[in-house]
């Protein structure tokens, strides 16, 4: 985005504070544009004026140009499962936020036997990793043409597309690509890839089938040249693959290419390469070694470029020990640093508890809360859960930093009226808050039990410790 201050946006707005956009003033709407929560086209009077008057239309287009993301957005797939990549505005997440997490595509190829293709596709479709109150899923499936047989590729592309996930079609052979596109172009697959050799045919395919296209070259002059040629001939949905070299000096050079591309697009304002970037951790499978070594190295490549600017990735490994760290890292890096990840403090009733059931306490840091809450819920533990306002900090940090204190626990007990809801006065505190045991007992008059270090162990802990032995 070219502008940084709401004032610069405000100049372009009607300045009537009509409120039709849903915000009270044009200035707050301008601030929302800067934060990328709304677009200029969400201002009804602006749109109306533009439709009537060429002068207003010109102004609107100027504003759109000023406020559109630095990196182009590309949509892969169609319907609900479509995934949007690119659209980034900054080089460091603290400068604003990163917007569209890199999409993860997992490999099948047309020489795999059918059962294996089905197995792998199902694993992608069914993948779930619970995290911060929701399940992380995977975006899509990539299909490589290994057979070099258009008919075979067509058949497998069709089969894979039936799983309903976005697809990346991978073949440097235009005939194979055409066959697959004839079958599934309406699902808007990303095609991979136009190179210095085949770019004419791929340009034609991208135009004819109206699908996004990847351009592949290790030479950034060539990459830019092909992108420019495509753009000027009417293809705007472009993804750049500066080629992933998995090890050694090649990896160093890959790192440089990816960073230079993104940095030159954003700081150097070079629009001709301001497209989403593809990185292919699957390249790790070219190195010598067993599957675990290569799987690990695939994750090393992925982690490097999740942090540094990849917008789409092709993976080979579907084992959890490599997928899980990659999806969690992606979630972390693409979490909006502007909004603290907190939940409402207060009292939660887990699995309809009775007055005899235990009372736990945790923090309002979203990650802590959802972890504890889901551990309790999915273990069918009936209990009362007090959520303390620790300003969005976890247990360990808030105990050390003074946001988790006995006085605040006392206030929470009073505010929630938990004393009236249970017929005991036992409070279970997190193992990591053990040092507050005495202070909370003194402050509240409740008996404090120190729970396990990890809420995943509450079930076992309760079997030993609940109900508490009287007289203790």
């Amino acid at each position: 985005m070219k502008v940084k201050s709401p004032l610069e946006v405000y100049k372009y707005l009607p300045q009537t504070n009509c409120g039709e956009c849903g915000y009270d003033t044009c200035m707050s709407f301008a601030a929302q544009i800067i934060d990328r929560n709304v677009k200029p086209t969400d201002c009804p009077p602006l749109m109306e004026n533009a439709s009537k008057d060429k002068k207003f239309e010109k102004k609107l287009n100027e504003l759109i140009a000023l406020t559109s993301p630095e990196i182009a957005e590309v949509v892969i797939g169609s319907g609900e499962s479509a995934v949007k990549i690119g659209g980034e505005d900054v080089l460091h997440r603290h400068e604003l936020t990163f917007f569209n997490p890199p999409a993860f595509f997992f490999d099948v190829h047309d020489n795999m036997d059918e059962a294996l293709i089905d197995e792998r596709c199902s694993r992608v479709v069914e993948y779930r990793k619970f995290y911060v109150g929701d399940f992380i899923t995977l975006e899509g499936i990539s299909v490589r043409c290994v057979s070099n047989d258009p008919e075979k590729f067509r058949k497998v592309a069709k089969k894979v597309a039936e799983y309903g996930k976005p697809v990346v079609l991978i073949s440097l052979n235009p005939d194979c690509m055409r066959a697959a596109l004839e079958e599934i172009a309406d699902q808007r697959p990303l095609i991979y890839a136009a190179t210095e050799k085949n770019w004419r045919e791929f340009l034609e395919l991208a135009l004819e089938f109206r699908v996004p296209v990847t351009i592949r070259s290790r030479d950034l002059d060539t990459l830019k040249s092909i992108a420019k040629t495509f753009r000027e001939n009417g293809v705007s949905e472009i993804v750049l693959d500066p080629v992933t070299e998995p090890v050694g000096k090649g990896l160093k050079n890959t790192f440089e290419r990816v960073i230079q591309l993104r940095r030159t697009a954003i700081l150097g304002e070079d629009k001709e390469i301001a497209y989403p970037i593809m990185v292919t951790p699957i390249s790790a499978w070219l190195i010598e070694g067993d599957d675990i070594t290569r799987g690990y190295w695939e994750t090393v490549i992925a982690s490097t470029f999740v942090t540094k600017y990849a917008d789409i990735m092709i993976f080979r490994n579907l084992e959890q020990y490599t997928v899980m760290p990659s999806v969690v890292l992606r979630y972390n890096i693409y979490t909006d640093p502007r909004t603290p990840v907190q939940v409402e403090p207060g009292l939660r009733e887990i699995n309809s508890p009775s007055p005899d059931d235990p009372v736990f306490i945790t923090t309002n840091f979203a990650l802590t809360y959802y972890t504890v809450e889901s551990d309790l819920s999915s273990s069918n533990i009936k209990c009362w859960l007090l959520v303390l306002d620790t300003e969005g900090l976890g247990v360990e940090v808030s105990v050390a930093g003074g946001q988790f204190t006995a006085a605040k626990v006392k206030d929470l007990i009073q505010e929630t009226g938990i004393e009236q809801k249970v017929n005991h006065k036992f409070l279970v505190i997190p193992g990591l808050a053990a040092r507050l045991q005495g202070a909370i007992e003194d402050e509240t008059g409740w008996t404090v039990l120190v729970g396990p270090m990890d809420s995943g162990r509450i079930k076992g802990w309760l079997e030993q410790q609940w109900p508490p032995k009287s007289g203790e």
């Binding site: 034609e204 001939n233 000096k249 090649g250 230079q260 390469i273 942090t307 540094k308 079930k459």
Partner: protein, 460 residues
Amino acid sequence: MAKKFTLDEFFETLKKYNVEEIEGVKIEGDLEIEIEPGSGIDANLIGAIAMLSNYMQLIQEFGNFIYHTNMALTYLQRLSQALGIQMPVGVQIPTEQPVPAQEVTPVEVPKFRIPEKLIPAKFEPFRVEYPGMIEEVTLGATRSDGGTREVTVTIGGEKSLAFYNFDTQNPNIPVIAIDVFDRKPMLAKAVREHYEDVLEDPAEWAKKAVKDFGADLVTLHLISTDPLLEDTPASEAVKVVEDVLQAVKVPLIIGGSGNKEKDPEVLEKAAEVAEGERIMLASATLDMDWERIGNAAKKYGHVVLSWTQMDINNQKTLNRYLLKRVGIDRNSIVMDPTTAALGYGLDYAFTNMERIRISGLRGDTDLNFPMSSGTTNAWGAREAWMKDSPIEGDTPWGPRELRGPIWEIVTGMTLALAGVDMFMMMHPGALAVMKEWMKMLSGVIEESIDNVDDWITMEV
């Protein structure tokens, strides 16, 4: 420059105007016409029209298709009227009601004209230079410097972001220390199995860390001094420091138990027995007697680790205290801005460190010190050690012995990219992978592979 059109493109053009039937026509020969680009009018359109007139005769020979061709012609004529241009002379247009101009649908420009050559372009990388530089800090001292170490370790000295050696070559590759404890700690199974034979003997543990696992340094945590554990007196605890100094010849980092009251005394004693060795005292924090720890480092020539809880302003404050009030040399401070594990606050740790590093490079002299990370914290994440997911509906987590090390690796890698210069780690496999990766990004491992296109067609 003249635009060229081939017959194929002509048919493509007709296709655009919904004249599909004519596709069956075959005209031999590579027929081309050339026209000059019109002023303000789409050259493609003029081309199409002109071509039509030129080929009229030819097309008429295919009598049975003429009907469809005429439809195309009619359409083109309407178009030409709308745009205010004349149809070329000599073309017979079947009479039809003229259509008012405003009802004409916008013309789609024929799309599939594929250029012969790429438009040349030069990629000019955007250059970044920072005014500041991260301090260079050396740990350990050899005989010539009054110590007994055989090697020293130097970190920091960066003038660009981590591994951005294309901006400015950074002089030092980040280093890795292995954690050693003076009493048996709680360790995840996947870690413990590598140290099972040395858990009772810190000196042997340190040897194993250096000789077998390739640690650049050893961090000795004197956790037995904790009043809630053995409460070992400081003077007794530091005997282990001497043992470890004997056992290994790499630089040492000495940590306390984290007890605010006792750590200053323990670290002071450690500083004394290690005089001349240039160890790092871990750590000074705002909520304990940082002055006493800082003074001990200054008096005995050591480095001090300035540790804050993920807060850039507190980090600034503590560094200033150590510099201004204690008078520590600028080459004797390392920062620990706190490490949170992958999935458990890593985003905060990453951004905090990245901001600190960028501030330092931009010239903030309160923050331009090397950074250290307690990467072993990664093992606190349940994904690293728990047998399987406790969550209903989760895809099974798979073997934990493979999950743990990679959790430590990814935590470390992410923070390396934020600018960390020194990692405290535990799993030997994680250490090995991190080292390999950092060497590659620093350019000291040349060996690469050439067949980088092969994954596209490989059968795995």
